[in-house]
């Protein structure tokens, strides 16, 4: 189901490096993708693959030093935000791009009431009267499914459960009706039942508001549930990009195959199929292997993989894969 919406975000050849004492870590190493209005794009990969840094790069919140966007462009609404000043960037953050973080337990400021924390975004980006803002906050809280929001606005974060806090953070991200929300592992820290509720909420909100999501996760189950298109990242690189249903139907890259095999299958109830872990560990970003970054863990490795890194190859028209098998 291809969306006909306009492309709102286009990332071209993004390189974000961390300059550490031990060397240069190429956390994001030539990543390109786009997001259409109203769709959900998932970025999956193991921790350390550069997916979070990609999101932080889009917000231009990569901690600096030691991190830096060294090359590439990020076109949001026809403007390359890499070139924007810090001041111009602040007009975008929280206003036109919202962000939802992984740790709801620590992502809210413990000394301020949650109502005030949401109101802060509105007051900062919109000129509005206190009363209007208060009403809007209550409306937002209702929208994200917090019961009796009128009294809850006076709660401090520690008085709420993890799921409730994540709803508050989502409300915060939604406050200014952004075009795009970056959700960095939004459900990872939550209980399974709460996870489902939050995902359901996000889906519902997206349908109602038409906001696009970039959903960063390591959980293929979440991807299947939420996204239309998916990017698989490994060691700072995109190794595969395709529509979600294609990916699940027929994973191309050996790494993707490995990822899928390491997750219990929901179609296989017999329990006979054993889970397989990918051998080896994620390579250090300071010392990437030569050739294909995945070759030393790959089950289908051959000579060329060790010497030359494959480009992102087109496959079946709409799919991309970085593997010599498909040349």
């Amino acid at each position: 189901m291809e969306s006909n919406e306009q492309i709102i975000l286009k990332v071209n050849n993004l390189h974000t490096y961390f300059f550490t004492e031990r060397g240069v870590a190429k956390a994001v190493n030539g990543v390109s993708f786009y997001v259409r209005g109203g769709e959900t794009l998932a970025i999956v990969g193991e921790s350390g693959c550069g997916k979070s840094v990609t999101a932080l790069s889009i917000m231009k919140l990569v901690p600096s030093p030691p991190g830096k966007i060294v090359d590439g462009e990020i076109i949001f609404d026809d403007v390359d935000i890499v070139k924007l000043s810090e001041k111009e960037m602040r007009q975008i953050r929280g206003n036109r791009i919202g962000m939802v973080f992984q740790e709801p337990m620590t992502a809210l400021n413990p000394v301020f009431k949650i109502g005030d924390q949401i109101a802060e975004v509105l007051l900062h980006h919109r000129k509005a009267s206190k009363q209007d803002v208060q009403n809007k906050v209550i409306e937002l809280l209702r929208k994200v499914g917090i019961p009796s929001p009128e009294s809850r606005i006076n709660d401090y974060p520690h008085q709420m459960s993890g799921g409730m806090r994540q709803r508050v953070i989502i409300a915060m991200a939604l406050a200014c009706n952004p075009k795009l929300i970056l959700a960095d592992e939004p459900t990872t820290a939550l209980d399974v039942t709460i996870q489902a509720q939050i995902l359901e909420l996000m889906k519902e909100l997206q349908e109602n508001t038409g906001t696009a999501f970039i959903l960063i996760t390591h959980d293929l189950g979440v991807v299947a549930e939420m996204a239309e298109r998916v990017i698989v990242m490994y060691a700072g690189r995109i190794v595969e990009a395709s529509a979600v249903k294609d990916l699940f139907h027929n994973p191309l890259h050996p790494y993707t195959v490995g990822l899928m095999e390491s997750v219990p299958s929901w179609s296989d109830t017999s329990g006979k199929k054993r889970l397989k872990a990918i051998p080896g560990i994620v390579p250090s970003l300071l010392a990437l292997p030569s050739g294909c970054v995945f070759h030393d863990r790959c089950s289908k490795v051959f000579d060329r993989c060790k010497l030359e890194e494959p480009p992102l190859l087109e496959h079946d028209n709409s799919r991309l894969v970085r593997c010599w098998l498909y040349k």
């Binding site: 031990r22 350390g48 901690p63 030691p66 991190g67």
Partner: protein, 303 residues
């Protein structure tokens, strides 16, 4: 800026090789320039104290009326024989300062030993047995902490009589709670760990458990506190001596020298400046070293 970079780096780029924690501590200590500066100052200070009779050009208490209030050597009427000048009794300031290092060293060792020994025993017993004993000991420690430490030291000395010996004891007593609290905390933390419980199950007796199993594992913070304790003991002893409640004349103690120099403030700035500067330097040395050790030994405590 916010450095989520710290934990991000740890998470995303785990280092390849792992070295032993001890070697890593040494490495961190060597890299820490402030700690190095502290170690150098402390070493110089110790050398000065130990070799005072060799290093000092003159007798520190020998008086000479002809040499009264000689200025440092760079003044016209100064003399290279008395590099830092002399005091109002004609005593060589440099020699007195060198011997002062020896006295401060003794003060540090004695006071810190008192607080370290009693503090460790109290803290270990409180943390190990908990319950009533813990309550009594820690209440007592809280009580000692209810007084500003220098005040308590002054009052103790006031009642037992002013002397360097009493000052050292008073300073030692005053600092006991610091060690007791620290050790108690560490013991409580260690006690819960598996190795203690298994040693216990194997029938180790209490003393053995405390001194052989638990305390060695709390060493890092104790070492740090001891190093810092040297600094504060020297400072407090100098303060007491300055007030006339510690070392008595003609002992070449830095604080006492300062008290004497105070009367000469209009005529001999050197008699005030140099002894006080030595106090500052010695205390600074121990503080730098203590901070450095904290960073090296116990990254959790790092500021």
């Amino acid at each position: 800026m916010w450095s989520c970079a710290g934990n991000m780096r740890e998470k995303e780029y785990k280092t390849e090789t792992s070295i032993s924690p001890f070697v890593e501590s040494l490495y961190r200590l060597k890299k820490n320039k402030t700690a190095l500066a502290g170690a150098i100052i402390v070493t110089l200070f110790v050398i000065m104290g130990v070799f005072a009779p060799i290093l000092a050009p003159h007798d520190p208490i020998e008086q000479s009326l002809y040499l009264k209030l000689k200025p440092p050597f760079w003044y016209k009427n100064g003399s290279i024989k008395y590099i830092l000048g002399t005091d109002d009794f004609g005593r060589d300031l440099l020699s007195r300062i060198i011997y002062g290092a020896r006295i401060s060293m003794v003060v540090g060792v004695v006071s810190v030993s008192i607080s370290l020994i009693f503090g460790t025993v109290f803290g270990a017993v409180a943390g190990f047995y908990r319950g009533k004993i813990d309550n009594i000991i820690m209440r007592l420690m809280d009580l000692l902490l209810a007084f500003p430490s220098i005040l308590l030291a002054i009052v103790i000395v006031a009642f037992v009589g002013p002397s360097l010996k009493n000052a050292m004891i008073a300073i030692g007593i005053v600092s006991i709670p610091r060690y007791a609290r620290l050790v108690r905390g560490s013991v409580l933390e260690e006690y819960a760990k598996d190795y203690v419980q298994s040693a216990r199950a194997l029938g180790a007796n209490d003393l053995r458990l405390i001194f052989v199993h638990i305390l060695p594992n709390c060493l890092a913070p104790i070492i740090v506190q001891t190093t810092l304790g040297f600094g504060s003991a020297i400072l407090e002893a100098a303060a007491l001596s300055f007030l006339g409640l510690g070392a008595q004349p003609p002992t070449p103690e830095w604080g006492a020298m300062l008290a004497n120099g105070r009367a000469l403030i209009l005529r001999a700035w050197w008699a005030v400046t140099f002894p006080g500067f030595m106090i500052l330097l010695a205390v600074l040395g121990f503080n730098l070293l203590g901070d450095g050790l904290r960073d090296a030994l116990d990254p959790r405590l790092r500021e």
